[in-house]
Symmetry: C2
């Protein structure tokens, strides 16, 4: 017998056909007739296209009547370009609605209650796969900006390069592969112009043979200096986004405009330190290689901390061996607080746009 979980699994699988990097989260919908047969499926193919429910209803035609709609996200109840999904489901004669994740934004919420008010049975059945679809998106919505991970790779004594500036390679091929997997998972990878000029990084996500992975982040360089023609960041797959500012808030606003929900800071110390000081680091990822250097630059700049009582404290949330190296994942013990007034937050991110805003 096919269970509610099976139909939601199928809706999640369908949702994954949508774009991983988009203004909207991925949503899937499966319409099931009273006899248990799947009538139609649909997914959201990205901002500007039909919502998952609308796509499924269009595919079903008259067969939607009497069906149960299994949706990964609570149907929206606000008027976008196509009218709310709640009304569309009702008008198509859908008999029952099951959704896996409540709509987390103010603007689109209320869909389940409205449908119940119209006499439709509506059930909320939590589903881990459906939550995973919207996790990054919901987190960015809650933060009011993209989620920021600061990555540092150094020696046991905190050096990120030797005295002569050489740093290839402190960490192992395994740790570098791990970092490339992370690049493929985030929406944007950011370096300062200092690192761009010193290391000429590609910032693409590559496998251990150097082949680019299918998912590539937006490549971003931050700072006022120009990159010389021929720099890897000015070349394929497409020139990196160059933000000529040092202000983390401005950087994050710009990245939000590019639909980034997750951002990885890859260096150097000045960039990471500026984000830390601005309260814009949500996670610290430290790769420690089993190496002593004794001299050379450290990965963390002067943070204005002069005495031990003022040390910046974090909490270890994950510890793993990665090849011969160690990876620590930490979060600040106090939530990253934005000490600077940020007028842009008001209108761009709080209240957040609908998940299915088109």
């Amino acid at each position: 017998m096919t269970s509610t979980d099976d139909y939601l699994d199928r809706a999640v699988a369908r949702a994954l056909r949508g774009p991983a990097r988009d203004r909207n989260p991925r949503v899937g919908c499966v319409l099931v007739a009273p006899d248990g047969q799947v009538v139609a499926e649909g997914h959201h193919a990205g901002a500007g296209t039909a919502h998952a429910e609308a796509a499924a209803l269009a595919a079903a035609g008259g067969r939607a009547r009497g069906a149960t709609a299994y949706v990964t996200l609570e149907p929206c109840h606000h008027v976008g370009r196509t009218g709310p999904c709640t009304r569309a489901l009702l008008e198509a004669g859908v008999a029952r609605v099951v959704y896996a994740v409540p709509e987390p934004t103010q603007r689109a919420t209320g869909g389940a209650d409205w449908l119940r008010g119209q006499g439709l049975p509506v059930e909320h059945v939590p589903h881990a796969g459906a939550y995973a679809l919207v996790a990054d998106w919901a987190r960015a919505a809650a933060l009011g900006r993209p989620h920021v991970t600061w990555k540092i790779a150094g020696s046991l004594d905190g050096r990120v390069a030797a005295a002569d500036g050489t740093s290839r390679w402190i960490t192992s091929p395994e740790a570098r592969a791990d970092a490339h997997t992370l690049r493929a998972q985030v929406d944007a990878v950011v370096v300062g112009t200092g690192t761009a000029l010193a290391d000429d990084p590609a910032l693409t996500a590559r496998d251990t043979e150097g082949q680019e992975l299918a998912d590539q982040p937006l490549r971003v360089v931050v700072g006022r200096r120009d990159l010389p023609p021929g720099s890897r960041l000015t070349q394929a797959p497409s020139p990196a986004l160059h933000l000529r500012t040092h202000d983390p808030h401005e950087v994050l606003r710009a990245l939000a405009q590019h639909d980034a929900r997750t951002v990885l800071l890859e260096g150097g110390p000045t960039l990471g330190g500026a984000f830390w000081a601005a309260g814009c680091v949500d996670e610290l990822l430290v790769y420690v290689a089993p190496v002593l250097l004794g001299a050379g630059p450290t990965g963390v700049p002067d943070l204005g901390i002069t005495t031990i009582g003022d040390a910046a404290r974090l909490r270890l949330v994950d510890l793993a061996r990665v090849g011969p190296d160690v990876r620590l994942r930490l979060v600040p013990t106090a939530p990253a607080v934005d000490p600077a007034p940020d007028p842009a937050r008001e209108h761009t991110l709080v209240p957040t746009p609908s998940p299915q805003e088109d």
Copy 2:
């Protein structure tokens, strides 16, 4: 039925009555009559006292005749103050010998073979507890000097103190308790005069309430400067050993004279760096606190490494969470090699003295 393992367990338990910190390792002996009854037991109570076999034979008197001797270490076959144990076992009429660990030193080896030559059945039955009794001692014998652990406790960015020199506390109470347990396990704890003058450490092994543990290491301060009267290291339980040298080889020779087989370097960077440069670090223990400092001294001094290819490489052998902190245990990838000629090694440590030398 009582098995060979049971009798060896009992011999190990008996051995543990001997002193943990002594020139000789702890050894136990159990004499068992043909009917399985334990006739007598004995242990080695420290250099200058009877060997375990001799102690057991003395306790057994005539009942040793026909018994099986279970010994944690192969009976010695060299003439110390009391004559070899091999001969004593034979003369007492012992019918059979079972030992758990072969004698690892040249000088005292050959006991099992000699007894077999005299017609006695002799069996080697490996036993983990018996190996543990002699592990530190055998390791120091193999190294030709005490085994050295360099401990560093710092921040994620490799700082061991803040910019103003304050370092209490970077690591957690749990990590400090772990380090105190380690002090109770090693034979000697060493700091440089710089650390002694700056921090005035007690270097005793204490529990979380500050009470001194039963086992205390030899406290050692290294360097030419005097400690002011009233320094904790000049006080109870007894004044620390003050070695007025900076040469790691001289320090280790002196500590070997004090029967140290395991040494813990607790700071500062100058001391650890000197031992590292001399090839006298066998293990590195790094406590990493989930803290960023951004400024302040690092735990590792300039090692003369200028480029990444020359980085000092180690191998991670253990990784653990200790409270909110992380502990890494590492060993140099190449065995610690002593690059300097060391005339003292010849006569003091190679060939090593008998384990039961009195």
